[in-house]
């Protein structure tokens, strides 16, 4: 340690911290103040559309974790090939979004919602109707620009700070 | 741009110096016999015009019939690079000389190969398992590894 500058470096640093004392803090108080997440958020629940899904299982093949399970059956009455079970183990899902990207029929979406923690491990495995879109679990615009356009604009910290400085 | 030296040309030069040390050579790599690996490596590191002083990585591949240890070295001075390999056909107790004496950077990587692939590096100062614990059964990166 050598005081080459007689402590000027220390004083310079202290001016920076004291200036921050007078500045507005950049944090926000989470449960009360909520920011808009990205329009392309890959939320932690998969959303599946029963109407669009054909049961081709491209998503299941793409999934690196093997979290998607599809059982299809032929419906002899209507002469249709329909999905019997569509099961996602959210516990295995790593939210990579490759299934959404791969789906040729736009039947799978990432979830837009957050705070979707479960209290029991069994609830992590979601089947059929639990996977449908609902007001609590809207679909995100990941690989779906039409949906992204309707979602609110993401709040950016850059904008916030620039606004405050003005 | 780092120039990748042609394996065949380099093989010719090395063959002159160390006859019978090259097992095989292709456009982008050369395979050195395990017995003369250290000589060739030292030559690559120190010889004029080569000066491969920087070891990019060491890794090993399991091809069932043999293990291949891959070294890529770069010369910072001449900005050229070459891949050389060595093979060991013994599956029970594969052994390759260690290059830690030449490039110290190989230290952890050779330990990792020993750990995951089960290849012993002769002359390594501290050849212990690095990622898995002592007494782990088998070597996971081998293709026949059964967990």
């Amino acid at each position: 340690m050598k005081f080459e500058r007689y402590g000027i470096g220390i004083i310079k640093g202290m001016t920076v911290t004291i200036r921050h004392l007078l500045r507005h803090p950049t944090v926000n108080q989470f449960p009360e103040q909520r920011l808009n997440v990205s329009r392309r958020t890959r939320g932690n629940e998969l959303i599946w559309s029963r109407e669009k899904c054909t049961g081709c299982a491209t998503c299941a093949k793409t999934c690196p974790q093997g979290a998607i399970e599809i059982v299809t059956a032929t419906n002899a009455e209507n002469n249709k090939y329909e999905v019997e079970t569509y099961r996602v183990d959210t516990g295995y899902c790593i939210q990579c979004g490759l299934c959404v990207e791969a789906c040729p029929y736009d039947a799978v979406f990432m979830g837009y919602s957050y705070e979707r923690a479960k209290y029991r491990r069994g609830e992590l495995v979601q089947t059929n109707d639990e996977l449908l879109e609902s007001p609590e679990r809207p679909a995100s615009g990941y690989y779906h620009p039409d949906i992204a356009g309707k979602l609110p604009v993401q709040t950016l910290l850059v904008d916030k700070i620039v606004e405050k400085r003005k | 741009m780092t120039v990748a030296l042609s394996g065949q040309e380099l093989a010719k030069r090395i063959e002159e110096k160390f006859p019978g040390s090259i097992e095989e050579s292709s456009r982008d790599s050369l395979v050195v016999k395990a017995g003369s690996l250290l000589d060739v490596a030292a030559h690559l590191k120190d010889a004029e015009g080569l000066k491969f002083d920087y070891l990019n990585y060491v890794t090993a591949v399991d091809y069932f019939s043999y293990f291949e240890v891959v070294y890529q070295v770069t010369s910072l001075e001449h900005n050229q690079t070459v891949i050389f390999k060595t093979r060991c056909h013994d599956r029970e107790n594969p052994t390759v000389p260690s290059v830690t004496g030449l490039w110290q950077g190989a230290d952890f990587q050779e330990r990792e190969i020993y750990d995951l692939m089960g290849i012993t590096f002769e002359g390594h100062p501290n050849l212990k398992r690095i990622l898995l614990w002592d007494g782990f059964p088998g070597h996971p990166l081998r293709k026949d590894f059964q967990p």
Binding site: K2, I8, G13, V16, V37, S38, T62, L156 | L131, L141
Partner: protein, 373 residues
């Protein structure tokens, strides 16, 4: 005081375990340090607490399906990992990437470098004992970049943005204005950080001349990245072996000479400035067009092997991939920057104090996800 004088005090060395759960081991690194009082006599690193067998997992994933797992290697900078892996597969399969995608890749890689250096400098200063302040300021700046990453790919940490033959999606229209705004504010922020600690006498005393890594040792140990450049190894793969489109931009490679902790810190700060410079040029030049080449989802590269490397924020990150013409890599090896940069740690810390051990370790800037894989 010389060693002999010290030894006349009749001290007895003892072994102290640093980690795996220690505040400044940057994850779950563990070192068994042999200490003589406060002086470090020797250290022995112990790895493997975060070993997930990613190289083995790669052999059971498709080429595309492995991209999300590369995010988990060096979790501070997943974009670089994604890019390195995609470069390797593209080299293997001979895929050409569209122009716009190359620009987007450069944007992401440089933003990622900024993120990593923010974290590296912040935690390094925190290790020096500047209680949380630099790291909080740095995290605030990082947050701005994470916002942009979030906007582009929907996640803040595991981006999974690069694809083989391009990038995942085109950037949304609000991205470039946000980037320009960011480029406008960040130089001022870096100036402020310089005011905070650049000339601080205590920091100088703690880092100048501490943990010197000589140039020859750096090369022999395979050290790369800012650590090597601080020791005077003038090698940056963006210049030495230009990948993507880095040869189109003007930037300098900051190098140091002393090779001590302070020099590493300086090199990182300078690299941030250079990254900003590259980003300025990219935002001016970026063309339109497709962002992804026509690549089948399940690609089967021809039989062979390829090694592609890039200048990741921490150093040379490379992927060595062997293909057997199936949908999954036959062998995928990661050149772990952090692991190899740790090789020289033992030589660097011997003879220094415990406090210096932490500072030197912090100055190398490692991520355990990459060390253990």
């Amino acid at each position: 005081m010389t060693t002999t004088e010290l030894m006349t005090l009749k001290t007895e060395p003892f072994v102290l375990n640093f980690g795996p759960l220690h505040p400044s081991t940057h994850g779950v690194y563990r070192m068994r340090a042999t200490l003589d009082g406060e002086v470090v006599l020797d250290i022995e690193p112990v790895f493997g607490y975060l070993h997930r067998g990613i190289e083995k997992l790669a052999e059971e994933r498709t080429y595309t399906g492995f991209i999300p797992l590369t995010d988990r290697l060096d979790y501070i900078c997943p974009m670089s990992n994604n890019l390195a892996y995609c470069l390797a597969v593209e080299k293997l399969a001979g895929i050409r990437v569209p122009e716009r995608a190359e620009y987007l890749r450069v944007i992401m890689a440089e933003l990622q470098r900024l993120v990593n250096h923010f974290i590296a400098v912040g935690t390094f200063l925190n290790d020096c004992g500047a209680f949380m302040t630099p790291v909080v300021y740095m995290l605030r700046e990082r947050e701005k970049i994470l916002d942009m990453f979030d906007m582009v790919c929907g996640q803040r940490l595991t981006y999974n943005y690069m694809r083989i033959g391009g990038v995942g999606q085109d950037i949304p229209e609000e991205f470039l204005p946000a980037l320009r705004k960011f480029l406008g504010t960040t130089p001022r922020f870096i100036e402020e950080m310089e005011w905070l600690l650049k000339q601080n006498e205590i920091l100088l005393a703690r880092t100048k001349g501490v943990g010197i890594l000589p140039r020859d040792t750096a090369i022999n140990c395979g050290i790369s990245g800012p650590v090597a450049r601080a020791s005077g190894v003038n090698r940056d793969l963006r210049k030495a072996d230009p990948y993507s489109i880095y040869d189109r931009f003007e930037f300098d490679i900051p190098t140091g000479e002393a090779g001590d902790c302070y020099e590493r810190y300086r090199v990182r700060i300078e690299e941030m400035r250079q990254s900003l410079r590259i980003l300025e040029q990219v935002t001016k030049q970026i063309p339109g067009g497709p962002v992804r080449a026509e690549v089948p989802h399940l690609i089967r590269p021809p039989r062979g092997e390829a090694y592609a490397h890039l200048e990741a924020p921490k150093g040379e990150l490379g992927f060595y991939i062997v293909s057997d013409n199936s949908i999954a890599p036959y062998r995928c090896h990661v050149r772990p920057t952090s692991l190899i940069n740790l090789t020289a740690l033992r030589e660097m810390v011997r003879g220094w104090k415990v406090a210096d051990l932490i500072v030197i370790f912090g100055s190398i800037d490692i991520t355990m996800g990459e060390v253990d894989r």
